[in-house]
Amino acid sequence: MDRRLLLRSLLGTAGSLALRARAGELPADPATSDATLAAFEAHRAGAPWTLGYEGLQADAAPMPLKLRGRMPLGLRGALYRNGAARHQLGDMRYHHWFDGDGMVQKYTVTDRGIEHRGRFLRTEKFLADSAAGRPVRIAFGTNPPGAERVGSPDSINVANTSVIRHAGEFLALWEGGSATGFDPETLATGELKTWSPDYQGMPFSAHPKVEPDGTLWNFGVSSARGLLSIYRISAKGEALQTVTLKIPQMTMLHDFVVTEKHLVFLLPPLVFDADRLHAGQTFLDSHVWKPELGMRALVLHKDRLEAPQWMELPAGFLFHCGNAWEDRNGVIRMDFIRSDDAYHATSGIKSLMQGRYEGEAVPAVALVQLDTRTGRARQTLLPHKAEFPRVGPRVVGRRYSQVFMAERIDARDRPGYDAVTRLNVVTGKSDRFRYGANVMVEEHVFVPNPAGSGKEGDGWLVGTALDLNRKAMLFSVFDAQRLSAGPLAQAEMARPMPLGLHAIFVPT
């Protein structure tokens, strides 16, 4: 039996803490360090969908795609996608899909065709783990045995969630620490981004919002101290304002929305408990579901960021919001993807890493109204099993009706999505294209037609998907107003990639 486990069981918690201090290590997950790898190896043969969760051990060298159809003339540039891509190293497989090292993938669209490449971000953690041949630093949902002590959140930054381009800089975003710069041509890793000297190393979420005038808003959560920080950054990349608020019972928080006058944060009642962290739980497992808190809506006026207005919605969980706008009566309308609880986000996703599919949460698109004058909130649910909501760049924080999403129609006995949908949140009508049960659909992004009318939704929907039968990636372009007609053009890459997270399209 592992000596550390034996001693911990003899000495109890106090002894275990002393053991941690003396050994210079952190307590390991109880006896499941390699259970995830063993389970995955056992299940994968019978579960073709696990192809999307295997991960990579090396960068993806440049490879051309085979194109069918013609790429629209105005659509030139590159799709950049981020996501956890190294899910195991040595004998250890991470327990959660969000743990692994980030890889930026780039699909470049030129007159000559489409080419793909992928490169891991050489973060401090990536380099330390690679040198050791196994994870030696803690991750979101995994405490590897013998993990080394680290000094700050950026010591475990995996830069794996999303990408943005702002003021000419390309940044890979995580949420627990700084943004990480990268070269848009070679995808080589650059420096950690500091927006202002006193905010160096502060968390910067994966979902900044850029308003039509180019102002970037973002937030960051420092769970241990229950802090929510807000960033207002100019179109030129200057930090105009940074503010930090203390939030009681701070929760996990992944996304937010802006309107012309306000910022809105929906706090799902998955509350951070520092005692659990100190007792050796992973960061993820240190969160406790407390539905009695409801879903708290924190509303901040942009001119009074230190004066929160609180409203309440029924308890539920979310990762992502679509968009929001407010009318001249101060009523904010927004949408988010809601599930009843955090089970899928925590346990369900851990099961996927073991090659086990337990079935889906039953999410819904939630339409919310927040009346800033009366303080009242209300919510309607639309029955779409969807995720990765995206809107066009010109309507961020402004009146909108179209939300693009990955949707699950009839994906059968595997996780994820099999279709892309455009949902009108005002009328409830939708237009969609179903790829098929054996195609795992990733987030698709709306790209305005530069020669178009400028009206909302005039442009293309661009995105990728993993074809399980062909073990290939599909890169598809749709008329965003005619998804049901199928792709205008589709290219295929003869190698599968790990399922990714968030993407952007950067026109040439």
């Binding site: 002590r149 000094g151 959140p153 006193d198 502060m202 930090t244 608020l245 203390k246």
Partner: protein, 156 residues
């Protein structure tokens, strides 16, 4: 509620400032005059940022005092010389101590941290002890001082 620009709560990262150094120096003189066994501690500090502000150190003689500004046994300060600094603490009674150091890079007399408490300036501890997302425990940094001693600390 917006955080005040300087936190009033004592935090685990608080390290002796200039006022505490004055207190510690006076206390040190008192201790030295009442004990016959006294030792000098020389601290060689490496990985200092060249051309920036001084290295400040605070010595603590027990876990209860550890990292509490006003309970340092002695303090010291030294300008940097290239990437090194030398601090000397004289006439210390024999015993066990732990030391915390930082480089006041911007010369504002304070150990600067971001709002989440992560250090913005270089810092170190005796025995090059490391904490986990925070300072090490006294016991990880403790060393024995029986006679004149030189220790080396490498800043992070």
């Amino acid at each position: 509620m917006k955080l005040p620009s300087r936190s009033k709560t004592a935090t685990r990262w608080t390290i002796a400032g200039l006022a505490a150094l004055k207190v510690a120096v006076v206390a040190g003189l008192w201790i030295a005059s009442n004990h016959s066994h006294a030792a000098d501690l020389t601290v060689e500090v490496l990985n200092v940022k060249a051309g920036k502000g001084p290295v400040m150190g605070a010595l603590f003689n027990g876990p209860n005092a550890w990292l509490k500004v006003d309970q340092a046994a002695k303090g010291a300060m030294s300008p940097v010389d290239g990437e090194r600094a030398i601090l000397v603490l004289r006439n210390l009674p024999a015993g066990t101590y732990a030391m915390s150091l930082f480089q006041d890079e911007n010369g504002n007399g304070k150990f600067d941290r971001n709002p989440a408490g992560t250090p913005l300036e270089r810092f170190g501890f005796s025995r090059d002890a490391k904490g986990n997302m925070g300072p090490p425990a006294f016991g990880d940094a403790v060393f024995d001082l029986q006679g004149d001693t030189t220790i080396t600390v490498k800043l992070n």
